[in-house]
Amino acid sequence: MQDEPVSRREFLSRSGKAAGVAALACVGGWWLHEPERHPFARRTEAAVIRDLRVSGITPSLVVGTGSAPAAVTAAVLAGLGGMDQFISKGDTVVVKPNIGWDRRPEQAANTNPDVVAEVVRQCVAAGASKVYVTDITCNDPTRCYNRSGIAAAAREAGAEVLPPSEARLREVNVGGAMLGMQKVFDVYLEADKVINLPIAKHHSLTKVSLGMKNLYGILGGNRSRLHQDIHNSLADLGNFLRPTLVIVDAWRILLRNGPQGGSLDDVEERRSIVASVDQVAIDSYAGATYFGLTADDMPWLALAERYGLGTAAYETLPMKEVQA
């Protein structure tokens, strides 16, 4: 027991210390209490729309055929008016092929590596400061990136090949009808331009996997739930990430056992590459041309139209055919 009186000096200094620490705690608490405001936030609640389209370009469809995928890709890009229309000097560009499965190019489950390489070269030539090639794969990423031939081809063309990384997923509100908070690979949140580079292939649920289906690969986390309302999910993805350009690889298309395939009997050579800035029109065109589907067979097109992402009536767009 202690009965000695507290001196005035001690009273002041101890009360002052307590008050100081309390004040710090209050300031710190206030600073931290709003998860969106504090500097280490990994979640943002407000809906994000990444509209990376270049304004002032009249949508058109360019279809190329020929004898080599890279040459046809170059011809198609020239037909659109050249890559400099889309890429400005110093841009950070993400080229997003489909690298989903551990398959060789001949098996037509992944985008053709020559097409990817040509697009990368054109981006570099147009002055892009950084070109990333990436996809969040289904199978083991090392195998997918290598067996598809895309890692080697893209790197040789001057791209940085980014493997999927759990640590680089950021949870954002993609602001869709079905999709809200989703884990998105952070490159898509920071890039200046995104080029969507799907392969045209069969898929049991959506009948065909094209541009908007390819955007699946920007998501991490538990994305298999998207199948429960696949059409709204695809439209939501297209709405969240509005790519600068969509190039559909129809060099080889997979007709059955998609989206992985495997047997060469399921593959058909069409030797075609299609490009457009209208992601709805190009899905509609590729579905109709290579898989005989109408817009009614592809319900995500109408939903995407409602978002104002483009038109499913691809016939209304100016169309150019090129040969290489």
Partner: protein, 571 residues
Amino acid sequence: MTIDVDNPGRHAAEARRYRMLRWLRRISQGLFLALFVLLLLFTNIDALDAPDELPRISAPVVLFLEMDPLVAIGTVLSTHSLYRDLLLSLIIIVGTLFLGRFFCGWMCPMGTINHMIAALRGGRMKGRARLEANRYRPAQRWKYIVLVLFLAAAAMGSLQVGLLDPIALLTRSLALLLLPAWNVLTQDMYAWSMHTQSAVPDFIVTPVSWALHAVLIRAQVVLFENTGLVLLVFLGILAANRYVTRFWCRMLCPLGALLGVLSKTSILGLEKRPSLCSNCNRCALHCQGGDNPEPGMDWHQAECHLCMNCVASCPDAGIAFRFFPSRKESTQVVNLTRRTVLLSAGAGIAAVPLLRTSVHPDAPPNPALVRPPGSVPERDFLSRCIRCGECMNVCPNNALHPTLLQAGAEGIWSPMLIPRIGYCEPTCVLCSQVCPTGAIDEITEKEKGWVPQVDGGSTENPLRIGTAFYDHGRCLPWSMAKECIVCEEWCPTTPKAIYFESVEVTDREGNYLWLKRPHVDPALCVGCGACTYACPVKGEPAIYITAVGETRNTQNRILLEKTAGSKQGGG
């Protein structure tokens, strides 16, 4: 430094040579420990610059296990054959026959870790206490008993040496615990550095994030189930150094015991010269093996690690390592009576049928026990697997995990597939490549035969590991009127083992809708578990794998088949 006064020149030169040898030993220990850890780190294929061809592990990642005489002799007893590169163990065996336990003092990574930890403690222990702790004690016989027990069990067909073999134990502990922990730490720091860029200036974040990226072991976090006991054993071994220097190496290590027995023929030994000795006890203070190096006591040759501490700290040249040493002082080899040996062997033999009363390897298999592709039939598997965990370490999908009791007490820590965490990658055969003992027989991608290859290769007779089944009550299209079939999307076979029928159903409100309801074709399913992995129903999945249909067990089948040749050479 005190130098012998009678013959300063000769003794000074000898002391210098021993101090140099001690340094060589330290360098050797450091290099082998570094090599061991590096090889563990190289046991994956995360490098993206692998060429287009099939990923292979080119480094000799299981070198230490293949050089391990206990693994070699254990598997020879249990299988009557020496698998693949286990022949390398002859290097250590022959070396030990001539030199004694140089492996323990100069090479063993577990020994080095114990040595370092004991040195931290030993530095604090002083005088008599330290001397007493370093004396030979009868408990050092335990390890021979452990060895005899394990070898007797191995002769009965149950290979348990891996439970306590130091290389298997350390591989398992590092691969399943320490590397994942390091991985979690660096991943979290990297994620933090990638997402705080707005708050922290670039010139700080960029180098930090680059450095973290460089030391990340894997791009994905890899974690293992059932590792609690592995951790306890490992921590227990490390902690025991607190009481006795290198407690594990002296008292329990069965590999040390085996090498001790082999050192009986060693031509290198300690020569004691009591006439020169001033009884300073420095040799015993620094002894690692507890083998009584000081003159006037029995030297226990089988306990000596050849660490050179005794001779390097001797001020009088009272002891020396010599080839063909004179044996004026008494030297003991293995201090074990015939009765103890017979009793331990009897216990080891009796342990096998006792263990097999719980789960017998020929009994109907545990449906949850899905073994990696290439695994030999269960009885042979348990006579080969040393529980080193290399298959789990190399698995790119984190699909393989140690068992607890799924394979019976006899099979603790052997590998099993947990498809909810990771599925068996269809074109991957890495686990079969790294398995040092052939519990997982080495197979090629074509032999696995899950995916058609561009360069040919049949998928007609795949190496199956199990079969998938639906739990209709949890499946969205089967019981919740929802579209899904993610399982069908992920099914890797051609044609897909999962097919669907389109059915018209009514939902709760009475609306009609068409749904695709999935089914499994057991004739095509290989049991990879990709469906289970991808199933959006978290918790218990709506599709699961059991071992039925596995190629390695001709009794564990569903379908009536024409007798197909087993890929395990069965017939």
